[in-house]
């Protein structure tokens, strides 16, 4: 029985290469007797895009919900700044998988933002400074022209960008995206990933994406984590996709990748690489 060394408690000796760092420490989630997540240990650095992959039912969404605090879990979430000093609870920006809402609701994109940003009643006023702020947030994700559109008239891709803009105001420490591009065509997907990828250059936050889209993950992720109730693999896309366990989980895609890339050694000891 191969020991799972990718799930050891992470030690980032030194300063994590001078990057700020989010530590997910021993996360476990159980519903009644069933253990969904068991001792998950993950280290995410600022400026890095970490993708969490895994088959259905392996606990990916549960992990996100645990990070958000929506689901009861044991274990700790720690956030350290670039010098390794504990900085309190990180600000988390969350982009949900999709937004189930009533499409006939008479709410504009601006209303949604204003309701999130302030307590000033949006049924009464729409102040100029808030309008400008919303405009800027939307421009960031290249959908500035949607500001007055009713939510129900947005396409899937437009809504996804609006939700991303929402998660970026204020700029978070960690950006969480839960399979953000289900139901969007391939071109939209590529644009979206490119956008998210660009963001981490501009803002120094950590990005965690839960995704099924292995081609995108392979192209844009700095680190990939294969999850199956616990962390099975943790490494660069190349390393993870060429590993036996991935091939077993994902079959054909991985074997295709292997024929194109030379196999790289996967770290079997030492737990998480910093």
């Amino acid at each position: 029985m191969k020991k799972n060394n990718h799930n050891k408690h992470p030690h980032c000796d030194g300063n994590c290469r001078g990057l700020c760092c989010t530590i997910i420490e021993n996360f476990s989630v159980a519903f009644g007797k069933k253990r969904i997540l068991d001792n998950v240990n993950i280290h995410v650095h600022c400026g890095e895009l970490t993708a969490i992959i895994g088959a259905n039912g392996t606990g990916k969404t549960t992990l996100l919900k645990a990070i958000l605090g929506e689901v009861k879990h044991s274990g700790k979430l720690k956030y350290l700044d670039a010098k390794g000093v504990r900085r309190g609870y990180p600000l988390i920006g969350y982009v949900p998988q999709y937004l189930n809402f009533d499409p006939s609701t008479p709410t504009s994109v601006f209303d949604l933002f204003m309701a999130c940003m302030t307590n000033v009643p949006t049924w009464l006023v729409s102040p100029h400074d808030i309008r400008q702020r919303v405009s800027r947030s939307l421009e960031l994700v290249k959908v500035g022209d949607l500001i007055n559109r009713r939510l129900g008239t947005l396409s899937g891709g437009e809504l996804q960008r609006v939700l991303l803009a929402l998660a970026l105001d204020p700029i978070p420490d960690i950006l969480l995206l839960d399979e953000p591009v289900s139901g969007i065509d391939h071109k939209g997907l590529a644009l979206f990933y490119e956008l998210v990828s660009d963001l981490r250059e501009i803002y120094d936050f950590s990005i965690i994406i839960v995704s099924h889209d292995l081609s995108m993950v392979e192209k844009y992720a700095d680190r990939v984590i294969l999850l199956d109730g616990t962390v099975v693999l943790n490494g660069t896309p190349n390393e993870v996709f060429n590993h036996d366990l991935s091939r077993r989980a994902f079959g054909t895609f991985i074997s295709k990748q292997k024929s194109e890339a030379r196999p790289a050694p996967v770290h079997e000891e030492g737990g998480i690489i910093c």
Binding site: P106, T107, A115, C116, T118
Partner: protein, 281 residues
């Protein structure tokens, strides 16, 4: 108490139907109650709570029955407390249980109304309660108008302080929760406010149509609104116009005021429904 109002009307609107004091009172009541329903209705419709608010009417009806059973005089305080508890219980059970909301509300609503009817009919004295089914706006007293005004201020305060949170919850409760909103608390406060408004006004508008007053103006406004400000403006306006028009018509047609107002609302709904495509993308 309302002399200033009577004098104002005599100067501004010296219309025949406003000659009587009770009509002047009714007009003031309409001008207070209809925007109240218009505003509350926006979130009732947004949250698909029409069935819930209907059940509050039933709960209020029972509250009146229970209150009368316990005391003899108009038991408003007891009724309000009962209504808030009723609303709160439904809200909590809705959140805890996996049974469908529809079913839960159905159970509470039907039990409440049956209980109310049983209590009221016991001893054969139901007739004096039939007024609560249909309502009698024209019987409103200045004291009750003052009460209505206080309720109006309360809801306005709630709307000024908590609307944004309510809006987020109405769009998607998980999104609201992910932004740190205590959804159960806000929902409960909203339900309680709704319960109070329904209880206080049920004696004037009647159990049978109180829900329509909440739902119709907002539903009509939805057809022509692109954002939340327009939604409120139109809902309020439609409610007020329905109210005043309905009041006037009920005077001349000699019909029940509450129901007449609802018919005007319905006509406005049909109108906005027909023209909706001009406004929506």
């Amino acid at each position: 108490m309302l002399e200033w109002w009577y004098r104002l009307l005599d100067i501004l609107l010296p219309l025949p139907w406003l000659d009587h004091i009770f009509m002047k009172n009714a007009l003031l009541a309409v001008l207070l109650a209809t925007p109240l329903f218009g505003i509350l209705g926006t979130m009732v419709v947004n949250n698909r709570m029409a069935f819930f608010s209907d059940s509050l009417g039933h709960g209020a009806f029972t509250g009146i029955a229970i209150g009368t059973l316990m005391g003899g005089i108009k038991p408003l305080t007891a009724t309000i407390i009962f209504s808030i508890l009723f609303a709160g219980t439904i809200t909590i059970i809705k959140n805890r249980s996996s049974a469908s909301t529809d079913t839960i509300i159905g159970v509470f609503s039907s039990t409440a109304i049956a209980l109310g009817l049983v209590i009221m009919s016991h001893g054969g004295g139901f007739n004096k309660f039939s007024g609560y089914l249909v309502g009698d706006l024209l019987s409103i007293t200045p004291y009750e108008i003052k009460l209505l005004f206080i309720v109006f201020l309360g809801v306005l305060l709630l709307w000024l302080l908590s609307f944004n949170k309510l809006l987020l919850i109405s769009i998607n409760p998980s999104l609201a929760a992910s932004r740190g909103i205590n959804t159960l608390l806000i929902e409960s406060i909203f339900s309680a406010a709704l319960a109070v408004v329904v209880t206080v006004t049920i004696q004037w508008v009647g159990l049978l149509i109180i829900n329509s007053l909440l739902v119709l103006p907002a539903a009509a406004a939805r057809n022509v609104s692109l954002n939340v400000r327009q939604y409120h403006l139109f809902s309020g306006l439609i409610a007020i116009v329905s109210g005043v028009t309905g009041l006037t018509l009920s005077y001349y047609w000699n019909t029940v005021t509450g129901a007449t107002i609802v018919l005007v609302s319905a006509a406005l709904f049909i109108t906005t429904y027909i023209i909706r495509n001009r406004f929506l993308d």
